[in-house]
Symmetry: C2
Subunit: 361 residues, 2 copies
Amino acid sequence: MKTLTVRLGRRTYPIHVGTDLLADADLLTPHIDGRQVMVISNNTVGPMYLDKLHRGLQRFDVFTHMIPDGESYKNLDVLEDVFDRMLEIPCSRQCTVIALGGGVVGDIAGFAAACYQRGIPFIQAPTTLLAQVDSSVGGKTAVNHRLGKNMIGALYQPRAVIADTATLETLPDNEFSAGLAEVIKYGLIRDPEFFVWLESNIDALRRRDHEALTHAIERSCRNKAEIVAMDEHETDIRALLNLGHTFGHAIEAATQYKSWLHGEAVAVGMLMAADLSRRLGDLQERDVERIKDLLQRTGLPTHPPKEMTPDTFERYMAVDKKVVDGRVRLVLLKRPGRAYVGDEYGFKALRDTLAAFQMAV
Amino acid sequence: MKTLTVRLGRRTYPIHVGTDLLADADLLTPHIDGRQVMVISNNTVGPMYLDKLHRGLQRFDVFTHMIPDGESYKNLDVLEDVFDRMLEIPCSRQCTVIALGGGVVGDIAGFAAACYQRGIPFIQAPTTLLAQVDSSVGGKTAVNHRLGKNMIGALYQPRAVIADTATLETLPDNEFSAGLAEVIKYGLIRDPEFFVWLESNIDALRRRDHEALTHAIERSCRNKAEIVAMDEHETDIRALLNLGHTFGHAIEAATQYKSWLHGEAVAVGMLMAADLSRRLGDLQERDVERIKDLLQRTGLPTHPPKEMTPDTFERYMAVDKKVVDGRVRLVLLKRPGRAYVGDEYGFKALRDTLAAFQMAV
């Protein structure tokens, strides 16, 4: 087991990465204050891992609440069901929420913990690669709105993150590849050495080679934890984590969060950001090709769906959180391993990128 | 104008108290980052003060959103309407929310600001006595749930509080008295000199004597600000602010937040807490009478509604936030001006108080 520490003053917390950690009472118990534990999971993941988790929680009164599986259920209605359940029990202010599942479970459970009686303790137990390397680190919680993704939420830190790599064995291939999109992102935005390592080891990762996977998760979490520690509230440094996300969120929103996985949309978004960076003279053509090649070898899409016209993109990008008083700020690349936040690009270059990715379909 | 400072490190903010402050651009402008301002108000208060507020905001793009007037509308549905409106505009992440109204407007607008895109700037412009001395100080925001008051919310600090005493001139008598209940609370929990001052000046306050009112608001805000600065996250010190609130919330919840004003319920709750304190041997009988006398002279109720049986009280008190793993913690009095948080009292004494207040009707 490896343990990283996310340094956030009084709210500093550990991330434990390793195999078969879910049933480890010694990891969970120090972070639980009261008698009550509310495990929030979904019907896909819950049946597989709830028993394991219960073994580490025998000293507590454990309640469970299952939410429907899928990004389309990450909304205020499902959140309200969580509140209803917790108040019917009733959960006290010392109840600890454990999120057992992927990013959707983590986002809803975390936001519920942030809001329930104005904030109760919260532990993340992510069971997907995406959640382990991304959504469980940094304290972002949210639900979607029909007019945009993650529009309603809170910045709320967990007490601990328990990333059990054994849970990845049952992960479907497309979800696994989608998680790798975020892993690749860390290489692209700030870790050139890791990007090169990924180019050499992507096949091993796709075979779910344990050693390669451990390295990739640990390195990803470390990259994200370093950024979060530097800049808890999202300004320029933390904004780099949004590479590909403005384009990606538009794809997810336009397809009603149904047909595209988050990581798949981010993969396309990263390539679009790379294309725009090339048009601005920042990124070499061959580096765009390296990025495209790595995404393809990862089993990720490199084109948006047909219905994404430039107009559709612009409409959905306009309500994205990266808008500063009417200007869309985008994360762009200088080279693989070096990103920056730009809002000085001409809108023509952006239109050209959007048009190129429409025609390319 | 008097200005207090609530010291909370990076989130330190000023409270300005005085007459005709709403139109003062110099007070508002320093706290607005972007171009957009979203004023949230209700149909009672909005028509009276929106024009005044607009005069101070001529440099900005000002949007308004009206919510229904009343505690029964402090719920997730009304909150969702706010999100819909803000996303339809769309409000950016630099938009500043101004809450123009009483506690309900402040709670909903504050919670909306806390959650919208995970947090945007927020200014409180309270227009009721209750909001000026209580809900606009301390950063508590929330909505109610059918199973309990303020169950869903966030601790989120405003950038500034503008308490314009001119707005109190139009306040109905019952709301004014309800606000005085919270003023009396500050005297009871930590300011014995202020309690004595209130006994001497309650008639002047009820006449809305400007000088008396200014003193009472300033002293109340100072008391609350001192507590909040000592203890931003609610533990024992801040919990003292809940004197009378556990009983009071039960009354409000059992009457569906419709027929009782918050301050009226708190007034009864404070007297019930005083009665329980007397049974525990902490408070003198004559001090209970002084408290009852002051509440009556303030025009406040001193008995719960007939339907509040001991069982009803206990049912609603069980989901109150003051529950620690099954034990109800209550704020009790040693004497007027000295409160403490107790959970060592016997349940018999509590039952006796609940029964006494049922029979007394």
